[in-house]
Symmetry: C2
Subunit: 759 residues, 2 copies
């Protein structure tokens, strides 16, 4: 679901195998290498391509016949490969449009009716389907409004500040924003919060169209009529079924009234292509758009806001319930059947869903087939392996969330880790996840060979990071400012840091609601799926031509995740390195403290500039130039509780890691079981029952999706976001709550260390 | 001549007049205020508008009838206002095209003939002229070539590195670059240095067209057919007449053969509008242009380089001599007639030249008229005031350079300072110049009231800087990273730093060849002249509609420069504060030392990445990905001589400033004359006879235009550029030479201090 365009990996591992500690490695390394080679040999890219072609042959969104058929076909495959398989069904609210309209009724080229249609591509048969969902974003608010149009750039908070500076209000108006700059769902939400009557989202060719590459079918980029569907449910409040927050959407679940579901938008919203958008934007008058607002349409971008350009926007949806089909397949563990390694990828797409999500789904299928064959040949995984194919990820992480909420108690008792993938493509290895698994991820990626270069995918990721940093561009994500990343880029003896998980795929509920450590794997950055993201054109022909010709990297994903799963299933000691987690949290605390300073300085500076009249003096008096609203002056926070908690976490982590390295191998079988029982639920200590301010479903005090970033992670979110949003009381309060969570975590770590020390 | 688009001021002054030292201020402050009010009262914006309309009524480039007529008309005015006036004539090589062609002969929309024509605008009468110069850039190389086309972005050194990475050579090809990113003249020069057969420069709408504003006549921006003329003479070697470097182009001057004039380009080059460019760029195949290469034409930018798109480029010029008409007007000083305050603005334009240069020229005329009236009313300036209206600035700073070279000995003996202006517009005060005059510039700008806001132009500049820094955008020029700028932005008791002068207008020869301290003044940043820069459309209607309606800021320029000139003419003690110069040079040394470290680190990092194969690993193997050529490893430099020289300069400056403040007012008349005779030529100590490496005409060891920036200043250029360009021997050598120049400067300062101390 998450667009990977422009997102780049930070991942690699220690090059010298001597650094690998012994405790992660029974079966012995030689046995493991042979076993993994055998696993690889059954991964067949051509077969994966055939699966992909079939799964992506028809629209497979939630509620479509092909969605169900795909689930049933996959379930049959899992069964045939020897997995204990079932389809779990949930009933969720899932709106789809019955009728919709978007028209320019005054100004510029009015009257003009937006096409709202993606033309079929001659030679690409599936694009001639009659069953594709129309232009729409799920969980918009239905409505029928006619109002002046305002252009709000990416529709992010800073864009509204820029509009205010120009004296432009969006109240009662229809806001048009472009994709990019933040998660889609925030665009209509922020428009609504600013009083808009409706919202339109379009793909500007600068970010997603002819400026980025030749357009499909000549190249991979978005053609003028291509639009991006997607969810605009307010998932930063809670994901999953909008009517059953916190519980599984089973037949008998207690459900909210639709009107009480706060994550449904109140205003209508539609996505359009840049062909249609150009007509709307050309009609705008009002102030010249600031430089950062300008895309690459051949027009002078203006922000509008007056009565010149008026738009009629209408959406009416069918708000009925639809079934979800989660495929759940299990290989039971031979020694610890109640230790679950859960791995998932979703199977629903917005239309054909070839790159997103089926490229990752066929990797999961290939893993399952190969593991099934290995079990038939005698392999007995020690822990239970649960393979899930989720439905309904696209609208709101529905399938994974409802399953996780339904099985919450069991998952909290048995879950070891959740491993996720989603859309995949040719390119560089990337992984994000729980930082205690950073070294493990490094080890796995050190043992997977990149087919294009012949080195490990970890070495390639490190080379890319090093070159990116040398060339000043970094390697995305701002990791280049992280001292650990800097050090690791050029020192192959160091693990490459992994990023934190925000949201945008199915790990969210496991990590952030249940406290189950999670890792998300993928490849990308060379093959380009961005241009057809969530459009009709994300199909087999596009994926096999532009994204992963030969399915080489889809197969590589299977080899990568398969290794991770098998090693976790067979490890008889924890693979975690808690010092990595502690060091990372320490970095987060440094960031948050710096943020507190910056936020305080910003308010002070603003007050000085306001009182001296500098904002007025600095502006062009012939243009609207409204001084900003005064910021409240931030207090100084007492970070001592958090500083103490982080210091304790570092000490406890070091003690555990040291004890595990020196004593782990010598543990008796009962001691190992005892250790496992302490370590397995350890990350649940990061949860706090209060949850985050205003969004209690999110209980993880270290990792969350940002309230106003959506996909992007916010770490130490209770504190960080309160500082950012100037909720001073919350900031002070969550310094304490977060410290308590970390202290609880350290206490659990100490218990584990005591087991290692013979306790 | 220099485009001010995007260039912003750093200037302001101390708010508290108590900080103003007494020595700058006989006549007493009250007298001065009255005198300056009287001066202001004669500045009539409406009259300036009438002058502008007439001067800009017909094309007035070098050699045109209206150029000569304008000179004669201005000379008559100066005379009528009581100035001793003459026209000095020089004979210079000045090519203009006889015939030219640009055609796409293969690929895309071929055959296509570029229009090379700027259409007249109905309602804007002067644009119907038949006498405008065609599309051309002066001192290109003439030729007739047909070759494949390559797109090289801005055509700057880093763009060639990017092309090399893609495996694209421009050898034997025609390079198309867009305007921006560096001085125009470097684009064909660098193409030539890389072996290209021809060059084309176009204005991309992202930088200069519909993306920036509505196009003329609806708005101020460049229309599709508008092209930017300009000089491509290799002025960073030497400006002025290409045949008479270092000497005045008088009738009898010894002249080079044209073939020996190294500053004339060897390959043909033409400028075009984006209407024509779109057809050429659309025809390109080859690798996708990197993100930084993409403009906002509605196309997929590719770099070409193959045989698909071929272009025929032909230019044939008339290489005859043309006359220059410099108007030189003098008000003789009553007490120190051999102390000259020289002030200039050029009068030649590329077509009508309304904004560039005539908006500045009419300010100079208004100053001259008002000063003339004041002389008639009894004012007797103590020093001689020389007002110059230069011809031929546009092609190569011809008029100012030939006059300065002709009168070099006299200028070195008599020159106190050179004050320049050029095109002007509505907006913010800016000044750059010799840093000993920083405090003086601050004092002047503190006493000029901004008509839009009612505060001093210095206060407004400070407010703009402060807001720019608070909003993270800075205020241009990178000054926001300068600690002095940071401190001054929010502290009204501090002087705002002024920028260093590079080139791009007539101060160059005075400052960099003769060692005469110089200051360049102007307003801009609100009115927008960038869109018609050097095109047919820079005319009266455009200037009066979009750039400076009511000529308010053109009048303000007259009030500003007039104050500076009159104060300098009447000051009986030096206005310089040498500590400002010393502090600034100290900052430059810090920058250069940091640069040396960075340059060394870059080479080390590159070597490591090359040896590990990281460049290859980091790239997409399906695309061209050539590892960079290895950089030579930089040595560690011994900066001690420069460090010692800067320390000495600081000490000598502090001693002088202190002595002047405490003892200046008490000097006897003969002592003041003695002091004046030491201080006046002091900046000539910055000159070294060796000149800069490879461009000996530039003798100033502190200020120079960059060899590969053209307009942009390079300070401590002998050292800085040698480090940047990895000329290690030059760097070491110029550390010594620059230290010698600074030491000589300090020695002169010490002499002046001795005079103050009764010596």
């Amino acid at each position: 679901m998450k667009s990977r365009t422009g997102v780049v990996a930070l991942l690699s591992a220690c090059a010298v195998s001597a650094v690998t500690t012994a405790w992660a490695a029974p079966p012995p390394a030689m046995d493991r290498a042979a076993m993994e080679a055998k696993f690889d040999s059954a991964i067949d890219p051509a077969e994966m391509g055939r699966w992909l072609k079939d799964l992506a042959s028809q629209p497979n969104h939630v509620g479509s016949p092909h969605d169900k058929a795909n689930a049933e076909w996959m379930a049959a495959q899992f069964k045939a490969w020897g997995w204990d398989t079932k389809i779990e069904t949930y009933d969720v609210l899932y709106p789809t449009p019955i009728s919709e309209a978007l028209e320019l009724v005054a100004g510029g080229g009015a009257p003009f009716k937006a096409t709202l249609t993606e033309k079929p591509i001659p030679g690409d048969e599936p694009t001639f389907t009659k069953d594709a969902l129309p232009a729409y974003v799920a969980f918009q608010g239905d409505g029928d409004v006619t109002a002046p149009l305002v252009y709000a750039n990416y529709g992010m908070p800073e864009d509204y500040l820029a509009l205010e500076k120009m004296g432009i209000s969006v109240k009662g108006k229809i806001v048009i924003t472009r994709y990019g700059g933040g998660w889609r769902g925030l665009k209509p939400l922020l428009a609504q919060m600013h009083g808009a009557a409706g919202a339109i989202i379009y793909s500007d060719p600068k970010d997603d169209g002819y400026s980025t590459e030749e357009v499909y079918p000549k190249g991979p980029a978005r053609p003028p009529q291509g639009f991006q569907r997607g969810s605009v449910a307010d998932m930063p409040i809670y994901p999953g079924d909008v009517l059953t927050p916190g519980v599984g959407a089973t037949k008998t679940a207690k459900r909210l009234d639709r009107k009480d579901a706060v994550t449904i938008l109140k205003i209508p919203c539609l996505p359009i292509g840049y062909g249609d958008a150009q007509v709307l934007l050309s009609a705008l008058e009002g102030p010249l758009a600031p430089a950062g607002f300008r895309g690459s349409l051949p027009i002078t971008y203006r922000v509008g806001g007056g009565d010149g350009a008026k738009v009629h926007l209408m959406v009416k949806s069918d708000w009925s319930m639809k079934p979800l089909y989660d495929v759940i397949a299990t290989l039971k563990g031979s020694e610890a059947p109640d230790d679950w390694i859960v791995r998932g990828n979703h199977h629903d797409g917005w239309v054909m869903g070839a790159s997103d999500p089926l490229s990752g789904m066929v990797a999961e299928l290939a893993e399952a087939k190969s593991m099934g064959a290995m079990v038939k040949a005698g392999w007995k995984p020690k822990r239970t392996i649960v393979y899930a194919s989720w439905d309904g990820e696209e609208p709101s992480l529905l399938g994974s969330t409802e399953w996780a909420e339904t099985h919450a108690d069991e998952l909290k008792a048995k879950g070891v880790v959740y491993i996720n993938s989603d859309g995949n493509g040719r390119g560089y290895f990337r992984a994000e996840g729980s930082h205690a698994f950073q070294h493990f991820v490094n080890e796995v990626s050190a043992d997977v060979k990149d087919p294009e270069t012949g080195v490990s995918v970890r070495d390639r990721a490190r080379a890319r990071l090093a070159v990116g940093m040398a060339e000043g561009g970094g390697a995305g994500r701002g990791g280049e400012n992280n001292p650990q990343t800097k050090a690791a880029a050029n020192d192959p003896s160091k693990d490459l840091p992994i990023g934190a998980l925000g949201s945008g795929s199915d790990y969210s509920t496991f990590l952030q609601h249940l406290g189950l450590p999670s890792i998300d794997f993928g490849y990308g950055g060379e093959g380009d799926s961005g241009g057809v993201y969530h459009s009709l054109y994300d199909d087999y022909q596009h994926h096999s031509t532009f994204v992963d010709p030969g399915f080489t990297y889809d197969a590589l994903l299977a080899k990568t995740v398969g290794r991770a799963v098998m090693r976790l299933a067979d490890a008889d000691l924890p693979v975690q390195r808690y010092a990595d987690f502690a060091d990372t949290v320490s970095t987060y605390l440094d960031e948050v403290k710096k943020l507190a300073d910056t936020t305080r300085d910003t308010a002070k500076t603003q007050a000085r500039l306001l009182s001296s009249g500098a904002f007025k003096l600095a502006g062009d008096p012939t243009k609207p130039n409204v001084a900003p609203a005064p910021l409240a002056q931030s207090p100084s926070y007492d970070f001592k509780p958090l500083e103490a908690a982080v210091a304790k976490l570092k000490a406890s982590s070091a003690a555990f890691d040291g004890a595990l390295a020196s004593k782990g191998a010598g543990l008796s079988k009962p001691q190992k079981v005892k250790l496992d029982n302490v370590v397995r639920p350890l990350d649940q200590a990061m949860l706090r029952p209060e949850g985050l301010p205003g969004r209690a479903w999110y209980m993880n005090m270290v990792y969350a999706p940002g309230r106003f970033t959506g996909y992007g992670a916010k770490t130490l979110p209770g504190v960080r976001e309160a500082i950012e949003e100037r909720r001073f009381d919350d900031a002070a309060k969550y310094i304490g709550i977060t410290a308590q969570a970390l202290d609880a975590y350290s206490a659990e770590l100490d218990k584990a260390t005591a087991v290692l020390n013979g306790g």
